[in-house]
């Protein structure tokens, strides 16, 4: 009797621990939806483009969204602008130097002002953004949407959850050594970044 009770207790504890365990979401999206949009609005010229080479993993606990940790990686060579000459310059050694610095990364360190309503969480994330090999700490407002059991709607015959992350913030081009001598009337110093990504945690 005592053994049975202990076994039941152990099983219950295990199942509770399993359900409360943080989930690891993979952001290598097979549908190619994930993207990072960048905008530079200078007085003489506006530059708009996007990158879709997004990957990385994020550990998210639905019971404690504030404990979210993870790293998002953008393939620098996937940055695209519609003008081919501008794209060549952007990838070149004076600007992003994608041959040498192949990745743009953001590593989330901590969350503050965490507010959760249903499956949606808004917070302020603090993390390290690395562009062109230069790492800077940045803060950004972020929205996390936990879509429990929705993976099957995107990937047939696959059970699991989705985590959608949206973040918008601005960085200074000069802070990351991206051609700091370039005239700001043609290429703005402020880069507005918008990250819209979805990760999957299969079960």
């Amino acid at each position: 009797m005592k053994t049975t009770a202990l076994s039941l207790f152990a099983l219950t504890a295990l199942s509770v621990a399993a359900s409360a365990a943080p989930l690891t979401f993979d952001f290598k999206d097979p549908k190619g939806v994930n993207n990072a949009v960048f905008k530079l609005d200078a007085p003489l010229e506006a530059i708009n483009g996007s990158a879709n080479g997004v990957s990385g993993t994020v550990t998210f606990d639905p019971a404690d969204p504030g404990a979210t940790k993870g790293k998002i990686v953008v393939d620098a060579a996937s940055l695209h602008v519609p003008n081919p000459v501008m794209k060549e310059h952007m990838h070149g050694d004076q600007w992003l130097d994608v041959a040498k610095h192949k990745e743009i990364t953001f590593e989330a360190k901590s969350f503050s002002n965490v507010k959760t309503t249903g499956d949606n969480t808004t917070a302020e994330v603090t993390g390290t953004l690395t562009i062109r090999g230069v790492a800077k700490e940045v803060n950004a407002p972020v929205k996390l949407s936990y879509l429990k059991g929705k993976l099957g709607l995107r990937v047939p015959n696959q059970k699991g959850d989705l985590l959608v992350i949206r973040a918008s913030f601005a960085v200074k081009r000069s802070d990351f050594g991206i051609n700091p001598k370039a005239p700001e009337d043609k290429v703005a110093d402020t880069i507005d970044l918008t990250l819209s990504i979805a990760g999957a945690a299969p079960r």
Partner: protein
């Protein structure tokens, strides 16, 4: 020759301006791809893809008009043919 060069300059200028207007009078740089957004209904995210498409910009129009101007200018090097 003089008349032919001026006619060619006019054709180049009109063709360039016509192409620029017909493709949306893009006041930015020439594009070789255009953005296409599609909504992912499950996540609510917008996927961004690029389709190959030539959209001439002001640089294209400027170079074409300069070329037409050069052709017209070059025509002045030729003398009028006596009747």
């Amino acid at each position: 020759m003089k008349k032919s060069l001026r006619l060619l300059a006019l054709v180049v200028a009109l063709a360039a301006a016509g192409t620029w207007f017909a493709t949306g009078a893009n006041r930015g740089w020439t594009k070789t791809s255009v953005e296409k957004k599609t909504l992912d209904e499950v996540t609510g995210l917008e996927a961004i893809t690029y389709e190959k498409q030539f959209v001439p910009g002001l640089d294209f129009l400027g170079v074409a008009l300069l070329g037409a101007g050069a052709l017209a200018g070059f025509s002045f090097l030729f003398r009028n043919q006596p009747n």
